[in-house]
């Protein structure tokens, strides 16, 4: 591949040397609004790299041939094209372009012109998502808009992400936005059983995307009613157009590498550290049992036994004083972390065609994308095809469809909490060779825990998703400005999973191998019918929609599992000697809705929008089934007022404000019913109480106020948006903990409220124009989340020794709550804790007081897992076809709980290999250090719920870099091409952070919910992806 690319490059460079007969043209460029010269306007000969810029007097000089077309461009002005004639002087006047006047924004059930939009909507152009080497569309959107927080949960290839628009408004219900693709609210939940949940959105080929609109405030999202509270992501795919068919081919290749590694002890360090820890464990036992020093020796014996065991019982360990016979002749020093990682290959090819005529327009694409993961045996491969057709059947009738078929195959690895997941290999001892002398992988008892490499060799978890996404529409023009639009959408998402665990694997041991087959089907049918009106009466114009929609979703699964396979090579359950389980499940939900939106404007200056939706859903109790979600918004384009018109400084200014209600219906399908579910005993199936009824259960309601300013200065060379908002969510859908003596642990109730307040800022500047252009886009947002009320009870999982996220009134959702680590007692090596005793008012009585007893430390708030600040800055520089674009993106203000460090950074409490940082543990009285004394088998500061395992989560990443070269079209045309571009693209190239773990962009995958965020548990770092690619246009 690389060789072909180089050859191509050389070939094209040779073409560059070709030249033609030229003449020199000069002229002046002026602006129509003020008749002043335009400084820095680009003048370019169309289809070539030949170009220049106007000087301080608006003058230019350029070489061109007769018949060439000169393009005059300037930001904020309409591009002008002039054909070179016989004259050598061409003076032009450029017309001002109203900011966004022509830009179309997709909104719920329709489109609007940007300058008339009165709500808060972020738009991302599809071309900014093209070919980004990430598994899923949300990750391509990272850092592209303000107020939209997107993170991958870890670095696995499954593309699982967390996306929050203007903060988290719910504790129990979902906080993921609603995704709408070409009008269909699509399925975003998968039903796989192996590993963590995969992400159904990976099936979207983001090279097909025309634009993504993110509806952020209530005014824009209210039309999605009870599903709008978390914001709405509207994805619109490309359409055909009337004209010559354009064919576009892209190919890229590259690789994924882990973006960061941690430092673990080597074999020599491991041995001496644990021998010492055992001595200290025994000494500690003497102390607490009141025995004379030296009485207890159990652990010293234990450690020798374990070292022998972990080294494969090699004899050489026996003389610790002989340096040449330390452990397997000093040869074994296994870097298990290295064995968990791999370099993943990326290949992709994408072919699309776009064209049509006045009657029939089409867009068609086919794509292949394969991304090897950074973890051994992990990867994703996608095929996708799409055909979008629009037909003008008659003067009044338009119809068409979009059809997408996708296949995604995933080689899945176990979830982060499984011994078999590759990242947990780091727990194994460096003195353990991965394989015995016969080349067979070692397992326990030689490995400290299950050797996850056995899964790589003897297990497979194949997930194949098929998705068909179809939307058909029929639009009938009824009378002037009134159209009747009907749509039927079908989202069929199938997941097929085959897992097979050989006899040597953890799941297959003792049962003769294990396997299961899982099949899930998610059918989502939605239909809508609405009237769409657009008309103007003098200075007034009116537009709007009124209609109804239904959605009916069925989720079915089929499952069977078996044991006792005669051979590992037999992969399907047909070979299982014993079928140990089989089941099928069915669950459904439905929505029936009525919606409307009306927009008025006067002279496109005073704007009013009213919107609303009535929603009914099967998910809610009979007493509370219908809800109404209204919203209103106002806009005032001040720059159109006479006192500002023609102002040379301020080119555009709009004030807007909105208020409205949206809902969140993202809970389980039968949450309101009192239920008995099924349990087995002695191979008989029985019924057991599983849920307390709540016939009053309804949706959460979010009230949101938003105020914003859209502005443009200096002919919109500087433009941007500022928004402030306040969201208050009431009637939270909450799993309220109840006394377990009732026989239940929680009840779903509508109780409590949460607030999100924020500020968003977007700034786009054109710093340089002319031959060298330089654009900067900045977005920055602040979101403050606060729980206001929980009906009298905080949610503190006091049953957990591992996790410390809680929900407390007055604090953000999921704050870390635990003991505050105070370092190490320099006299005896004990971990110290701040007592943090509080008086009646909640003030800490004596902030300096410490204790050696963990139980005596009062739990306090230790940090927030959710960043308060997020932002990104993208710079794009281009010069004669060479373009460099790079995005720095970051978050700040959060902390991350290193849960896995409770084992790997636990000063040798057990035999897990330890981080190198643990070498500085307390050794003797007087030592000043932050790592307590190592005492094998005795907890000393390794209690998970403590601030020792919190680390700052702020980061700045060089998220994306693209360097490309666009060959001049006159050269490209000579080889019968329309376009030729080569590029280099990198994702996650650099990370700046104080985080101690692998990667601060993390939320361990087995625990992804609203409360348990910011947890790192053997979570893989993000891949650093580097690709080289070529675009060819035919």
């Amino acid at each position: 591949m690389r060789r072909i690319l180089i050859a191509f490059f050389v070939f094209c460079s040779m073409l560059l040397t070709a030249a033609a007969q030229q003449k020199t043209i000069t002229g002046v460029v002026t602006g129509a609004d003020d008749n002043q010269p335009v400084i820095g306007a680009t003048v370019q000969v169309r289809g070539t790299a030949t170009g220049t810029a106007t000087d301080m007097n608006g003058k230019y000089q350029i070489s061109a041939r007769e018949g060439d077309v000169l393009e005059f461009r300037y930001v904020g002005m309409k591009t002008l094209e002039v054909v070179v004639g016989t004259s050598n002087v061409i003076n032009v006047t450029l017309q001002t372009e109203e900011l966004g006047l022509d830009e179309i924004i997709v909104v719920g059930y329709g489109t609007q012109i940007k300058s008339k939009v009165t709500s808060s909507i972020a738009k991302v152009e599809g071309e900014k998502l093209m070919n980004v080497p990430v598994p899923t569309v949300e990750l391509a959107l990272q850092g592209k808009s303000a107020g939209v927080f997107i993170e991958a949960v870890n670095g696995k290839s499954t593309g699982a992400t967390r996306m929050r628009i203007r903060g988290s408004s719910s504790i129990t219900a979902t906080n993921q936005p609603l995704f709408v693709v070409d009008g269909i609210p699509i399925t975003t939940e998968a039903s796989n059983l192996s590993g963590a949940s995969v992400n159904p959105l990976t099936s979207i080929n983001f090279n097909d995307v025309e634009s993504v609109e993110i509806l952020k405030d209530a005014a824009s999202a209210a039309i999605y009613g009870s599903r709008g509270a978390n914001g709405v992501v509207i994805i619109t795919t490309k359409k055909g157009y009337s004209g010559d068919t354009k064919i576009n081919f892209t190919m890229q290749t590259g690789f994924n590498d882990p973006s960061h590694r941690r430092e673990f002890m080597n074999a020599e360090e491991y041995i001496s550290y644990f021998r010492d820890a055992a001595k200290r464990g025994d000494a500690y036992e003497d102390l607490i049992y009141g025995d004379p020093p030296g009485t207890n020796t159990y652990w010293q014996g234990h450690v020798e036994n374990r070292l022998k065991r972990y080294s494969g019982w090699a004899k050489i360990l026996e003389d610790p004083n002989n340096p040449s016979s330390k452990y397997l002749g000093s040869k074994v020093d296994t870097d298990w972390q290295d064995l968990a990682f791999q370099r993943g290959r990326i290949y992709s090819a994408d072919l699309s065609a776009q064209g049509g005529n006045d009657k029939l327009k089409f867009f068609a694409s086919g794509s292949y994308n394969s991304q090897g993961g950074i973890l051994v045996s992990n990867g994703i491969e996608k095929f996708s095809t799409r055909l979008n057709v629009d037909n003008k059947a008659s003067k009044n009738v338009d119809l068409g469809f979009s059809l997408a078929l996708n296949r995604t195959a995933i080689d899945q690895v176990s979830a982060d909490n499984a011994f078999s997941t590759p990242m947990q290999l780091v727990a194994l001892s460096p003195i353990t060779p991965p394989r015995d002398l016969n080349g067979e992988l070692y397992n326990t008892p030689v490995t400290t825990y299950y050797n996850g490499l056995l899964d790589v060799e003897y297990a497979s978890r194949n997930i194949i998703e098929y998705r068909s996404l179809v939307n058909t529409y029929l639009v009938i023009g009824l009378f002037n400005g009134m159209k009747w639009r009907n749509e039927l959408g079908f989202d069929l998402y199938n997941l097929k999973e085959n897992a097979r665990y050989g006899e040597k694997t953890e799941s297959g041991t003792g049962v003769g191998g294990y396997g299961f087959a899982n099949y899930g089907q998610n059918q989502n049918i939605s239909g809508k019918s609405y009237l769409d009106y657009l008309n103007s009466f003098g200075d007034f114009s009116v537009s709007g929609v009124l209609g109804t929609e239904f959605q009916y979703t069925t989720v079915e699964t089929l499952y069977a599992e078996g044991q006792q396979f005669p051979l590992d090579a037999l992969k399907t359950l047909a070979s299982a000697g014993l079928i140990t389980g089989a089941s099928s499940t069915l669950t459904q939900y439905s929505f029936l809705s009525y919606f409307s939106r009306v927009n008025f404007d006067y002279k496109t200056k005073y704007l009013v929008t009213l919107a609303g939706r009535v929603d009914a859903s099967s998910r809610f109790g009979k007493n509370n089934r219908y809800g109404f979600f209204p919203a209103a918004s106002l806009g005032w384009v001040i720059s159109k007022e006479s006192f500002l018109a023609g102002n040379p400084l301020l080119s555009f200014l709009k004030l807007r404000a909105s208020y409205g209600l949206t809902g969140n219906a993202g809970i389980s399908n039968f949450g309101h019913l009192g239920l008995y579910s099924v349990g087995n005993y002695n191979s008989l199936s029985g019924l057991l109480p599983s849920q307390i009824p709540n016939p009053d259960l309804g949706w959460e309601t979010t009230r949101q106020v938003d105020a914003g300013i859209d502005f443009g200065f200096f002919r919109n060379r500087i433009s941007g948006e500022i928004d402030v908002y306040h969201k208050k969510t009431n009637d939270l859908l909450l799993q309220v903990p109840v006394p377990a003596t009732s026989g239940y642990q929680t009840q779903m109730q509508n109780i409590g409220s949460v607030e999100n307040k924020g500020f968003e800022f977007v700034l786009n500047t054109n710093n340089l124009t002319g031959n060298l252009t330089w654009n900067t886009n900045i977005n920055f947002s602040i979101n403050k989340n606060k729980v206001l009320n929980l009906g009298g009870q905080d949610i503190i999982d006091n049953g957990s020794t591992r996790y410390m996220n809680v929900v407390k009134v007055g604090q953000p959702i999921g704050v870390f709550y635990g003991a505050e680590y105070a370092g190490v007692d320099k006299d005896n090596g004990d971990a110290l804790w701040y007592v943090n005793e509080q008086d009646a008012n909640g003030n800490i009585v004596n902030p300096e007081e410490t204790t050696n007893v963990f139980e005596d430390a009062n739990f306090v708030i230790l940090g927030n897992p959710t960043p308060d600040y997020t932002g990104a800055i993208t710079n794009t520089l281009s010069y004669k076809g060479v373009e460099l674009s790079f995005t720095f993106q970051g978050v700040a203000g959060n902390k991350i709980h290193l849960i896995g460090d409770q084992w790997m950074g636990a000063n040798g409490v057990w035999y897990d290999n330890q981080l190198k940082s643990q070498l500085r543990s307390w050794k003797q009285p007087g030592d000043i250090t932050d790592v307590p004394e190592a005492r094998l088998a005795w907890d000393n500061g390794d209690q998970s719920r403590n601030s020792r395992y919190l680390s700052p989560g702020s980061y700045l990443k060089l998220r994306n870099v693209v360097l490309s070269y666009e060959f001049p079209s006159n050269l490209v045309n000579k080889v019968k091409l329309n376009r030729l571009r080569i590029y280099f693209q990198a994702q996650n190239l650099l990370t700046f952070t104080k985080y101690e773990g692998w990667d601060p962009e993390v939320s361990t995958d087995f625990l992804v919910n609203n409360i348990y965020s910011g947890c790192d548990f053997y979570s893989a770092p993000q891949p650093r992806s580097i690709v080289f690619g070529i675009n060819i246009g035919l």
């Binding site: 008892p445 069915l586 029936l592 239920l675 349990g679 002695n682 006394p739 377990a740 503190i796 006091n798």
Partner: protein, 448 residues
């Protein structure tokens, strides 16, 4: 134009009539509460459900037995596993947030609520089966309360009044959550009284044989154990005698045959049934090694225990070397029954009761009962027996079957440096429960 308008009307009609029905969806793999308790068959299914909860790993799926050994086993066993919660139990450094006590608390009350539901719906059960269903529900409820009070309260002391805090007694099914859900702890005496009342009623209702489910024998076996724990030796020996005298159970000739069985043996009075459709036995998980479906070999057996066996004791032969340490061989079948009550225990209870109280002996002499157990282990029959002999025999015979801490407490012995009534040997009321239930907030056990 007209045809478009009539088309609109037709589409609208179809959409709305179809959709309104679609809003009333019923679940497909669970049923609503109203249906579950309205027929004979359904109530019996709920009874199976109660057993399904009973075999949860947090309780009789194994951990309740394991925790009794971890609490009382210092010097005889060593916890070497990586899980922090069992390690805290073994080291007596439990926090109120330890997940093991919460699992027992939660799972037990789930069984209790399920039993309470069954007991509230006996009217719809066919008359022929009504007593049996009632008896099984009472037995399961009593078993839960007995182990709750043994783990979560200061031990019953026959020489005291026992008004120390036990656990909350809930005897009615939960239909909603309100103020009355915030129950407080009853006294230890009250809990024992409730257990005995339930069991006495159940004994009159259950048949002698009832498959693998609770039978009259199981009730009497539990009664014997309850009375023994209370120091009520007369009732203990009588209840044990009722089991032995029923003739339904036999001491197997070979000790090793008692364990790791897929099905109950003739010696089993009541055992947790583990099938491959369930989760595996958590006794295997922690006491055994990967070869048999266990974890890493999380519990080492020390010489402190192995040295207790006299030479020639076949029970010692069951121990084996695995993953670098000695292991008990009782739990090497991950889908095997977990022996909860077996006849050998009844002989030992009857023998202990008889030797403490003297003649007239109930059933048989302590020496004969002792020798039944002693000779089965391949040892020569003794000519005389003392209380200490019987206590030691019990320790060896029932080792690692979930008795250790409870015997230490009733015999007022100690675990390493912790005396029988040390607060560290009592589980904390789960911290989570104190948050959810304001009444319990002031009722935490000392030391937490």
């Amino acid at each position: 134009m007209k045809r478009y308008i009539s088309l609109t009307a037709i589409v609208a009609f179809l959409v709305f009539t179809a959709c309104d029905k679609l809003l009333d969806l019923e679940p497909s793999q669970s049923i609503s509460e109203d249906i579950a308790l309205t027929s004979d068959a359904n109530v019996k299914s709920v009874l199976i459900g109660a057993y399904a909860l009973f075999d949860d790993p947090g309780i009789y799926g194994g951990n309740i037995l394991r925790n009794a050994e971890l609490l009382g086993g210092n010097g005889e066993i060593q916890w070497v596993g990586t899980y922090i919660d069992p390690r805290q139990i073994f080291n007596k450094t439990m926090l109120a947030t330890n997940s093991e006590p919460y699992a027992q608390w939660r799972d037990s009350y789930e069984v209790i609520n399920t039993c309470n539901n069954i007991l509230s719906a006996l009217g719809v059960v066919k008359e022929a089966d009504r007593d049996r269903v009632e008896g099984e529900a009472l037995f399961l409820r009593a078993l839960m309360y007995f182990d709750l009070v043994r783990f979560f309260a200061q031990p019953f002391d026959p020489s005291a009044t026992n008004n120390q805090l036990g656990v909350p007694i809930v005897l009615t099914p939960t239909r909603g959550i309100n103020e009355s859900s915030n129950v407080g702890r009853n006294t230890v005496d009250e809990v024992y009284a409730q257990v005995i009342t339930d069991l006495t009623t159940a004994a009159g209702k259950l048949p002698e044989s009832n498959g693998v489910y609770a039978s009259k024998g199981a009730v009497n076996a539990l009664l014997a154990r309850v009375y023994l724990q209370k120091g009520d030796y007369d009732n203990a020996r009588k209840a044990a005698d009722a089991v032995i005298a029923s003739g339904k159970y036999q001491i197997l000739p070979n000790y090793a045959d008692v364990f790791n069985q897929d099905n109950n043996t003739n010696e089993d009075i009541f055992a947790t049934q583990i099938t491959p459709q369930d989760r595996f036995s958590s006794m295997t998980e922690f006491f055994s090694i990967p070869e048999y479906g266990g974890r890493d070999g999380d519990i080492d057996i020390l010489d402190g225990h192995l040295d207790l066996y006299p030479a020639g004791d076949k029970r010692k032969d069951l121990f084996f070397m695995g993953n670098g340490a000695m292991r008990t061989g009782k739990w090497n079948n991950q889908y095997g029954c977990i022996n909860l009550f077996r006849l050998a225990e009844m002989y030992l209870i009857r023998a202990e009761g008889n030797i403490r109280l003297g003649t007239p002996y109930v059933g048989d002499s302590p020496l004969n009962d002792y020798n039944v157990i002693h000779t089965r282990a391949g040892l020569v029959a003794a000519g005389s027996v003392t209380l200490d002999d019987i206590i030691l025999e019990r320790r060896l015979e029932l080792a690692f079957e979930g008795h250790r801490i409870h015997d230490i407490k009733r015999l007022k012995q100690s675990v390493a440096t912790w005396a029988w009534n040390d607060p560290k040997l009592v589980f904390p009321i789960p911290a989570r429960e104190l948050e959810a239930n304001p009444t319990l907030k002031t009722q935490q056990n000392p030391g937490y």
